[in-house]
Point group: C2
Chain length 342, copies 2
Amino acid sequence: MPVSSKSEANAVAAAGFAGIYDPVKPYLAKLDAFLSSQIAEMEPEVQAQVRYVFSHSGKRLRPMLVAYSGWEGPKADNFEQLLRLGAVIELVHLATLVHDDILDEADTRHRQKTAAKKFGSAAAVLIGDVLFSHALKLAADFPTTEVCRAVALATARACAGEIAQTYQRGEVNYDRKFYFRVIQLKTAELFEVSCRLGAEVAGYSEAFAQAAGLFGRHLGIAYQIFDDLVDLYADESMIGKTLGTDLEKGKFTLPLLLLLEQLPADERETLLTRFKAGDENIAADFSERLHAFPIFEAVVEIFEAQLSQANAAIAPFAEKAVPAMQQIAELVRAQLGRLERN
Amino acid sequence: MPVSSKSEANAVAAAGFAGIYDPVKPYLAKLDAFLSSQIAEMEPEVQAQVRYVFSHSGKRLRPMLVAYSGWEGPKADNFEQLLRLGAVIELVHLATLVHDDILDEADTRHRQKTAAKKFGSAAAVLIGDVLFSHALKLAADFPTTEVCRAVALATARACAGEIAQTYQRGEVNYDRKFYFRVIQLKTAELFEVSCRLGAEVAGYSEAFAQAAGLFGRHLGIAYQIFDDLVDLYADESMIGKTLGTDLEKGKFTLPLLLLLEQLPADERETLLTRFKAGDENIAADFSERLHAFPIFEAVVEIFEAQLSQANAAIAPFAEKAVPAMQQIAELVRAQLGRLERN
């Protein structure tokens, strides 16, 4: 059975998380219960579809960021605050997944049919809208408009990132600045907001919340780089498949950009011309060239630099959340380690 | 050139509005300027697409409801408050139009290509998301979370209404209760919120805001009934086209429901069986039968009852907004009148 690189990334991730995130297990259990309880708050016409989307067993990585960044914060009800915020962020994330799967025409996610495949694209547009609207409704239960504002802004930016990427398809923009702009928007924004607001709603200082946001931003960039590596390397080494799906969709991720930078100009032009012409063997050829250069190592270096910046942002603080946040950074590093060992 | 009934409804509406809404002309001019100014606040990757969506010359009916319901309210800055709220509501409305046009596979809206047609469905999903996110970001600029909450809830309900309608397609649910449930969700909710919040942000009392909301709800139901009539009657009488597009999409609107109620059981069953089998002549036959019964008159009666309920809700109040709101109800009635005269 062909396994999409997306499912593979999640399988790798789930295995990597399993033994490590014990401290937030009660939080994640309560989060799932809280999300389930929200179904009854929705209109009867959408409950079955939302229940289906919730049943995808995602990693709940963003709620974990929320929980860790506000861990044992000064507010007496910090756990409840973090629970609600985690639900808001996860709902926004699920909404973007449901919409992204329409764009990508993806069939499966988390080894389950996507909402677009199960209910049709048209219904999936609306299901995503319902999830996003419900997120904002929950966000409005916080005492100030800060959560609504930050979540709305992060979503608008994530969409802009997806649009930039969508419009790139068919063309080739192998500028690193463009790549980092896209992953900053489409991934790192929500990571940043998760951490900053997590610290805030738990009652930590503004200075710490800002640092937590910076931590989230760099962790998000590192995570997306890892995810892009999985697409190109996990399948080949772990299940014998060839080059992943990103290139098929015209997404030039960091490994491919580094390759293009290192190729002699004439070879680069030939490959790009063949890519634009829709040459069927192009993926295999990119893959072959990818292994002729130390690209993996170069990407890991950039990944490590982002993780260091994440850790450096919170290093000066003595807040109880810091060790928990460092642990999650370690977890992301461990996942990349699993990829290297294979 | 074939003109969709949707464009036709808007043409009718625009003509109907032209001479009447002078009092809010400065408001609507400022609203357009405010919306345009928001483009610069968005990420560069989405600005061209948003500018395109804004250029559809819609009627701005919902912002008019906002402006009228809070007209000359007690708050010193009531005009600015109503401007921001009108922009929030219009952005939400535009977002739902962009997404609905994907669902309906519509080619034109307001005599211009839909976003889905112009940029592709995938991009249109994201453009809708950007508009909605930006609406919520603006909503977060109000001092409390009330606007965010109400707008998010209305959007979730509008989506549920669309989902109910989408799932009905192919089947036939000719229950009036179902029809009213759908139009309450997909149209009347946002009308209600426009009026209630308009009164609130302009500083009117909670009692008046509630009454304004009720006004909006009944006006919204009346407006959707008018819109459904246009689909079946405007094209035929005004530009010689046959039955509209709603039935083609499997939407059984009020006139069709009333017809089904009045037909002898065996004829009803025959028509429905042919409809389900995808009979190509079914629209023409429905149209022919529609004119054999006084359906138009029966629908107008239900429309009038809703308008009366709208006006009754605000009649006990002496607020300055009341005459303006009565005027807008009159305007909706005048549009229906234009339809009858043709």
